[in-house]
Symmetry: D2
Subunit: 326 residues, 4 copies
C-alpha cells in the first residue's frame, strides 16, 4: 500500500533545522531522501556533522540541489531562501517548504506564492499548497495560544513573556550561546520588538479582522537547549469553563495541539511535535500557557507535518516521537 515513496531533498542540511529535518526524514515511512545539500559540508558524511545519525544514515552532503525531488525543504538562514529560489531553477513541479522567514508575510518568489504553514489555522489550504512558508518558533507558540480568542474577536491588549532554548539561535558560535555564559542564566532580548510579531499579527488578524489586537511580547533566553514556553495574559470576560470549551472546540481536529486541564511544563513537549496549552482565569484576567519544542513544532516537525498534508499522507506519519521528558 505504501506504494511509491515521496522523493525529498534538503537544502542547507548542515544546520540545526537541517539536522532535525533529517532526523525525522530518515525514519519517515513514506519518504526517500534524494539529496541533502550543504555548501559548507559538501562531500562529507552526514553522520560526521549530525553525529547522532551514526548507524542510521550513510548519505553524503551534496554541493548540488539539481537532483529530482517531489519536495525540497529549505533549511537556510533568513534571507537566503529568497536568494536560493531566485537562482535555483527548480522545476515548477517541485514543491517547496521553506523554514526561513522569507515568505511568511505574503512575499512571492517568481510564480511561487506561499501558504503560511500552520495546520491548526490553514489545514485545507496547506493540503492544496505547492509552497509553504513554515511558521517561526515563537510565532507558533504564541499563535496557538491565542488563535481561539482571535476567532471570537476577544483579543485586545495581550501581555506575553516567552523563553526559548539555545537551539533557537542556531549553531553559530556567539557570546550568548557560549556555555559558560548561558548555563544557569536568563536574559531578555528584543523586548517588544521580536521579528515574529509580524506573522503573529497577520495570523490573528486573519481571524479577528475588526479590531487589531495589541501584542506585547518579552522574549527571554533560557538555560536549556530545546523548547519554548509562553505565558499570555489578557483581560477577558470569558469564564474558565467557556474558555476551555472554546479551545477544546478550536483544536478538536488538531492532532498535535492539546488542551491540558492541569498546569503544563516545558518537558512534556520536548522532542515531540506537540503543542500543549493550559488556561487559567484569575479575576478578570485570562492566562494562556503554551509550550512547544522549538526545533519540532517550531520548525522541522511542523515542516514534515505540512509535507504530510501536502502529499495526502497520514498527518502524523514520521511524527510519533518519544518525548525525552526526563
Amino acid at each position: 500500500m505504501e506504494s511509491k515513496k515521496i522523493k525529498v531533498g534538503v537544502v542547507g542540511g548542515a544546520g540545526y533545522t537541517g539536522g532535525e529535518t533529517l532526523r525525522l526524514l530518515v525514519n519517515h515511512p513514506n519518504v526517500e531522501i534524494t539529496f541533502v545539500q550543504s555548501r559548507s559540508q559538501a562531500g562529507k558524511k552526514i553522520s560526521d556533522t549530525h553525529r547522532d545519525l551514526l548507524g542510521d544514515c550513510d548519505l553524503v552532503f551534496t554541493s548540488t540541489h539539481d537532483i529530482p525531488a517531489d519536495v525540497v525543504f529549505l533549511c537556510l538562514g533568513h534571507g537566503e531562501s529568497k536568494v536560493f529560489l531566485k537562482d535555483a531553477n527548480l522545476t515548477p513541479a517541485t514543491k517547496v517548504i521553506d523554514l526561513s522567514q522569507d515568505f511568511r508575510l505574503g512575499e512571492k518568489s517568481g510564480d511561487r506564492s506561499f501558504v503560511y504553514g500552520l495546520p491548526e489555522l490553514h489545514k485545507e489550504k496547506i493540503k492544496k499548497a505547492d509552497n509553504i512558508a513554515n511558521p517561526g518558533c515563537f510565532a507558533t507558540a504564541i499563535e496557538l495560544g491565542l488563535l481561539p480568542l482571535a476567532q471570537q474577536s476577544l483579543l485586545a491588549e495581550v501581555y506575553l513573556t516567552g523563553v526559548t532554548g539555545s537551539t533557537g539561535a542556531g549553531q553559530k558560535l556567539q557570546e550568548t550561546s557560549h556555555f559558560s555564559w548561558r548555563t544557569n542564566n536568563i536574559s531578555a532580548y528584543k523586548t517588544l520588538t521580536h521579528q515574529h510579531l509580524k506573522e503573529v499579527k497577520q495570523s490573528l488578524n486573519s481571524l479577528q479582522s475588526a479590531t487589531e489586537p495589541s501584542i506585547h511580547f518579552v522574549p527571554w533566553r533560557g538555560d536549556f537547549s530545546r523548547g519554548i514556553y509562553v505565558s499570555a495574559v489578557t483581560k477577558s470576560s470569558l469564564t474558565l469553563a467557556d474558555a476551555n470549551t472554546l479551545y477544546q472546540n478550536f483544536y478538536q481536529d488538531a492532532l498535535f495541539t492539546h488542551v491540558s486541564d492541569t498546569m503544563i511544563d516545558l518537558k512534556q513537549v520536548v522532542n515531540t511535535n506537540k503543542c500543549l496549552i493550559h488556561i487559567e482565569k484569575v479575576d478578570e484576567h485570562l492566562v494562556v500557557h503554551s509550550a512547544i519544542d522549538n526545533l519540532l513544532k517550531g520548525a522541522s516537525g511542523q515542516a514534515v507535518q505540512n509535507m504530510n498534508l501536502m502529499f495526502g499522507l497520514e498527518e502524523t506519519a514520521g511524527l510519533k516521537l518519544k518525548a525525552t521528558v526526563h
Copy 2:
C-alpha cells in the same frame, strides 16, 4: 579598632536560608556567632549539613536558643517564626531579623513590631529598628523594579513575569525540585496569585497612595538553582532618558542596587547581594528588568544588610561577595 563584635544567634540554621546566613556570618568582620539552633540537626557539626563550610566553621548545632545574643536571625518556615517568638522568651534587648513572611504586613509579636527590611525603601527606619521583617525574594526583585515609578505615582496596570531558581522552594524534597523533573524545564505556578504580591502592594502604596496600582504577576520555576529575573511591562509617558534619571536618582544612595545602561542577565548578580536594573522604552511601554540572587538580596544577604544598618556598621560589611558569573 573593630572594638566589640556583635553577638549573633541563628534559629533554624539547617535550611537553605540558615545555611546562606551562616556562610555570610562566618566571614563577617564584626560578628561573633554565639549559637546556631536547629531542631533536626542539634548536636551535629554545622559543616556536616552545610558541607561547603568544611574548614571554615567548627560550630555544632544547638537545640537551644537560650544563649545571649544581640540579634537573632529567624530562618524558619512561614508560620514558624510567629510560634517561635511566642514561646521563645527572648530578652527584650535581643533584636530580631525574621526571614519568614510572618511579620511583613504589620503583624506584631507581643510588644515587638517590625520594620519591613528593604533598605532602598526604609533605610532610616531600619537603622532604628529592633525587629525586622525581611522581604520576600520575588517581592524584593519586583519592588526594586517598580519603586521609583511608584514614587512618582506613575503606576497603573503592570504586567510582570519572573523566574526563580530551585532554592526558592527550600530544601524540602518535592516533585518540582526533583532533578529529573526540573532540569531543562520551565513551568508556571501561582499565576497572578503569588503570596508576595501583598507585600509588594504595601510597599508600592507607601509611595503611591492616591491610586492603587494593579500588579499582574506570572511566576515561573526556572532550570537553575539561584536567582530571580523579572521583566515588568507598563504603559508610561516617561521618555527612556527621564526614566533612567528617575531610577538613578532614586537609587543614588543604594549600595547594592544599580541601574545598568545595557541589558542585564541573571548571572551578573548570582552569589552577590546586588540588584541590577535595566530599563527599555518601546512605543508607549516602559519595560523594567530586575535581577537578584534569591538567597542573598532576596533573603540572607539582605538580612545581613539590615543587621549592618541596625548596628551602625558599614552597610557593606561582610557583603562584598565575589560573583560566580561563569
Copy 3:
C-alpha cells in the same frame, strides 16, 4: 500484513522505567497494550503520571495484572520482581521481561529460568527465551565496551570510570536527586563496589573463562538526567587498528551498537537505543569509551529489543528513535 499484535502488560507502570517502556510501546507497530498495573496510581489516567503522553494514550492504570498478555514487562524495584512472580500466578504461557536485577545471576522463580538479555552477547538464546533478565544500565555500557576483548581473553586489570544521569536513581525523592544539590555537581558513589559488577563479571567470564579479569569501577553521579558514559583503561598489546577490527567484527550484526572512528559524546545516544563505542591506544594502554541512554539501551529500550527478538519481530521495531542531541 501486521497480522496479529502481541498483547503486552506492564507491571509497575508508574516509575521511570515503566514510563519509558510505555513511551516505546504506545508507538510500537506490533503491540497492543492490554494492561498497565500500578499499585500507587491504580484508577488514574496514565497521562496524569507520564504527562508527556497527553494526547498519545488514554489508558488507565489497573490494580490487577490478571489480564491476558503474551508478555509482561516487570518495571519494579529490585527485590520486588521476585515477590511479584511468586505471588502473581502468571499463566505459564506468559513470557516475562524483568527490568530489575532479581534474576540476572542465574536465579530462578519456580520453573522460570531467565536468559540475561544482552542481545550482543546472547541473541540466539534470547530468541528462544521465555523469561528475560534485562541487564543493568552501567552493566550494559561496561559489557559492551569490554566484551570483544573478553572474547579474545585479553582482559587483565581494567580501570573504569562511569557517569550516570539522575534518572538512574529512579523517581524517589532523595537528597542526591534534589535539583539544588545535583545541578552543576559531580560526586562519586559506591566506589569499586557497584552492584552491577557481578553481572559484568558473569558476562565477561562467559567469554574469557581461563583467567578472570579484574574490574575496578568508579561510578559518578552526573549533572544531567539521561545517559551513561564510561571510559575503560587497560593494558593491551593490540594495535589500534587491530582493536578496531576486533570490535567491528564483534558488533557487525549488532543493530544498535556501533564503533565510531571519532571521539564520542554522550548526547549522540540520548533518547536512542544505541550504544556507541570509541577506541584509543596510547603507549601500552587501550582506552575504550562507551555511551548509552540509561533508560533505553540501559533499560526499557533493551527490554523492547528483547521482546522483538523473543517474538520474531524486526529487532528494531518501535526502536527507531529520534535522538534529542541538542
Copy 4:
C-alpha cells in the same frame, strides 16, 4: 596597621582568569590595582567586559603595562607570557605571577627563574620567590590528591579520571563550548595525553625520586561551568586509617586543602579557593577523590594565595569566599 597597599597590575585582564583575578583583587584588603591591561578591550570599562563588576569597579582597561606595580599577574594564553616578558621591559623589582603554563617546567625568562606555585608543596620557596609559575587546574587537583603518597614513595601505577567545567577552556568560542552541544553532555578528550601531566610528574618526582610513578589520566568535559573533580585509583598496602593520617599530617598547615571523612562533591568547593579530598580503601585499592574550583584554586585564587605568601600577608587575605553550593 594595613599600612601600605601592594600595587598590583594585571596583564590580559579581559579573559576568564583575568576576570576572576580582578574579582578577587577588587575586594582584597591589601591591594591597590594600578592597571589592568588588555589589548582587545583597551579604553573600555572593565565592568563592560566583566559585567558582574558593575557597581564594584570603575577602572578602565589600559593598553599599556608601563605603570608601576609591585607585582604583575600575567593572565595570558599559553605561549604569550614568554613573549610578553621578553618584550615588556618590566623593572627587575616587579614580581611576576604567571598563570600560563610557560614557566612551570623550569623555563626561565632572561634572569627570571620561576617557583612552581603550589603552596602545599613549596610554601617556603614561594615566600621568597620573585616569580611564580602558577600551576594548571587539573595539575592542582591531581597533585593535591597524590602528593602525600609520593612523599612516602608509595606511588606506582595510578589510574585517574577527571572532569572539568567549561571555563577550563576559556572564553574562546568553539564547538565544545557551544551551549547546545555541551549542556547535558560528557565527552573525553586528550586521553592519557593531557599537557598538565608533565608538571604533575615533576611535582610527584620531587617527593618520590627513586621510582617514577606511572600516571594514566582520562580527562572529560563536564556539563557545568566551574570545577574539577578527580578520582585516582592505585594499589596500596596502606590501611584507610593510615592513609587518612598520612594525608591529615601532610596538609595540617594547609589553609585551603582539607581531608573530608565523608564523600565529597564538586559544589562544596565551587567559588572557593579550597581543595577537598576524600579517601576510600576497597580491597587492595586506595581511591583518592579531590575537588577544586578550576578558576580559583586551579588558577586565580591560587595566584592570589601565592601573592599573599610572597608579600608576607595573611595567606587567606581576600580569599575567604562564600561558596555558591546551591
